[in-house]
């Protein structure tokens, strides 16, 4: 394989994998937009969804992608429960407690998973796991392509929801200024529980996607949270399209970084890019330059 086609291969893999970061990032961005907290347990929820898929697949041999239909309502309900049961009460006490609550939730979920499903890495192996499509010199794994399509579709749905529905308008308004929004009759409680259930629902989708493409263990989630966070910063907070693009950009950056330098440095490269972005372009890489205030 020539260097050029190897490079194209890396770019494609980066885009395909990055779209998964993107879905996680959209959820994180929505929750941050309305609640102003970084929901650090997002990654742990993603891995929970992966175990959910694995579990359903092993017990009933239901197809993982079909399991998405089961997973989505369950995780949306879970997200609603998180808000109503935990974050609604704590958010009144300020930001630090909410952040630490999310941290506690992450520790709880990680260890619960490791207790129930053992800390050994798991993977969902279906008949099509190893199937690849050849496009000239470039190979595309079928599962990754599916993951990419699902990610784009779910990002598109969320985008349409935000732009076209009254509820979406309420969420956008609330993330701009919660106080002003509540003066206009938007209930913070409803908006927050809505964003939480969409955000956690997206984590469920990302979890199903993870389970089909990669082996996972209970502690893999935290890394996922950090990656989603970086993607959010790349895309600019509160933008659905930006978060997806940020995820893809991160996937590309990691792929190219580990190809050109070395795999071990990939994380440092993405964090360094993250630092540069939040320092010099806090509105995100893709946003039009705004006047510095």
């Amino acid at each position: 394989m020539s260097a050029a086609s190897a490079f194209i291969q890396i770019l494609i893999n980066g885009i395909l994998f990055g779209s998964m970061y993107g879905v996680a990032a959209i959820g994180l961005s929505l929750i941050f937009g309305s609640m102003q907290i970084v929901f650090i347990a997002q990654g742990a929820v993603i891995i929970l969804a992966s175990y959910f898929t694995y579990w359903v697949f092993t017990l009933t041999s239901l197809d993982p992608f079909f399991c998405l239909l089961l997973c989505l309502p369950f995780f949306m309900a879970l997200g609603w429960g998180f808000y109503v049961g935990l974050f609604h009460k704590v958010s009144a006490a300020g930001k630090n407690p909410s952040l630490l609550l999310a941290f506690g939730l992450m520790v709880l979920l990680e260890n619960l998973m490791s207790f129930v499903w053992t800390p050994n890495p798991r993977a969902v192996n279906t008949w099509y796991t190893a199937v690849g499509l050849s496009l000239g010199p470039v190979q595309i794994s079928f599962t990754r392509l599916m993951v990419f399509l699902i990610s784009i579709a779910s990002a598109g749905l969320v985008f349409l929801f935000m732009k076209k529905t009254l509820w979406g308008k309420a969420v956008r308004g609330a993330s701009e200024d919660m106080r002003a929004a509540s003066l206009l009759g938007i209930s913070p409680r409803r908006v927050n529980s809505l964003t939480f259930s969409i955000g956690i629902g997206l984590a469920g989708i990302a979890g199903v996607c993870t389970s089909t493409t990669y082996p996972f263990d209970p502690y893999f989630g935290f890394l996922f949270s950090l990656k989603a966070l970086i993607a959010v910063a790349f895309g600019g907070l509160g933008s659905v399209g930006g978060a997806l693009m940020g995820g893809i950009l991160l996937g590309l950056l990691e792929g190219v970084g580990s190809y050109l330098i070395s795999g071990g440095w990939a994380d440092a490269i993405s964090y360094a890019a993250f630092l540069l972005v939040i320092m010099w372009r806090p509105q995100g890489v893709f946003a039009k330059a705004t006047r510095a205030v």
């Binding site: 992450m106 630092l275 939040i278 320092m279």
Partner: protein
């Protein structure tokens, strides 16, 4: 009234310190589990107090204390390996603290000038993660992913560790106490309450923020150094573990952020709960710990000091009233 309560808490504090000084002289340090337990508590007290200064008083929540902790441990290990310093060498410890403080100053100029609130927290988090990769990839100097092994034959007894950790915790407490009684402390609180107003009153905001950040880093570096001496094996995963950033945060919030005694209380309570859970319910200990954190945040988000201590805290340190007022308004 104020004098009486101040006197009472000072007396209690001195008595407690005396107990801690005398305790290891009365028991066999190698047999007693409590000596080890207090050693860990002292490390956490110093870490939490350092974070409290940065986040609680100066209002700049950092999530990168593990960067300074790990750096301190590595400075200790590398200087010992090179033969410049020895076992439990005060010079090495000061160097470790100073190295961490220096890093905090360099990074602080960039991060603190540009970033506020969440962005600063995320930036410092990124710093810690970058340092872990750098030290993992550091080649011979840092020993790569395996880390550095130190001559563990130097170990004689837990006693010296105990007293050094106690001294670090005490000095962190006294330093913050003195600092908050000075003009610098007032400037830090002013920055926390309203940065613009502080700047308008002639406070060099960046300078004071960096001062607080570097002081917190200094104590983290010291803790990393003594813990490195204790484990004799410095490796990137353990010393740059995010736990070293998150646990002190948790302890400070649990005890009461922006209070002088809160971090101490939080460190002892949380270390105690985690250790007890580890002894009595080892299988589900981490699950229980996560649950404990959630319960505390649900029912005691303002920390233990807010329980009976609201008035007491107000009288011990008048400027805390800002925080209690805020919580009352809510």
């Amino acid at each position: 009234m104020r004098n009486k309560i101040t006197r009472n808490s000072t007396v209690a504090f001195v008595l407690l310190t005396l107990t801690f000084v005398l305790y290891p002289l009365l028991v066999d340090t190698e047999e007693s589990y409590l000596v080890y337990f207090f050693f860990m508590c002292f490390i956490y007290v110093a870490m939490a107090q350092g974070w409290n200064l940065v986040a609680g008083y100066a209002g700049q929540a950092s999530f990168g204390q593990h960067a300074f902790f790990g750096l301190g441990a590595y400075v200790t290990a590398i200087t010992w390996k090179a033969g410049w310093t020895g076992f439990l060498d005060p010079v090495a410890m000061i160097l470790s603290g100073a190295g961490a403080a220096l890093l905090a100053m360099i990074v602080g100029v960039a991060l603190l000038a540009k970033l506020r609130g969440d962005y600063f927290a995320l930036g410092t988090l990124g710093l810690g993660e970058i340092l872990r990769v750098v030290f993992t990839q550091g080649g011979k100097l840092t020993g790569g992913p395996v880390g550095l092994l130190l001559p563990s034959s130097s170990y004689e007894s837990l006693g010296p560790y105990y007293f050094i950790a106690l001294a670090i915790a005490l000095s962190a407490f006294l330093f913050v106490w003195l600092l908050m009684r000075s003009r610098i402390g007032l400037a830090l609180v002013a920055i926390r309450e309203d940065e613009q107003a502080a700047a308008c009153n002639g406070i060099h905001v960046l300078k004071f923020k960096i001062l607080a950040f570097a002081t917190g880093a200094f104590f983290s570096g010291l803790c990393g150094s003594i813990y490195g001496y204790f484990l004799f094996h410095i490796h990137p995963l353990g010393f740059f573990s995010l736990n070293w950033a998150l646990l002190p945060v948790l302890m400070t919030v649990l005890g009461g952020i922006g209070t002088l005694y809160g971090p101490i209380l939080g460190a002892f309570v949380l270390t105690g709960v985690f250790e007890l859970a580890n002894i009595y319910i080892p299988e589900i200990h981490p699950i229980f710990s996560g649950l404990f954190v959630i319960l505390v945040m649900l029912y005691l988000p303002q920390g233990i000091m807010s329980l009976g201590g609201k008035d007491v805290a107000k009288r011990i340190l008048p400027f805390i009233s800002g925080i209690s007022k805020q919580s009352e308004r809510r």
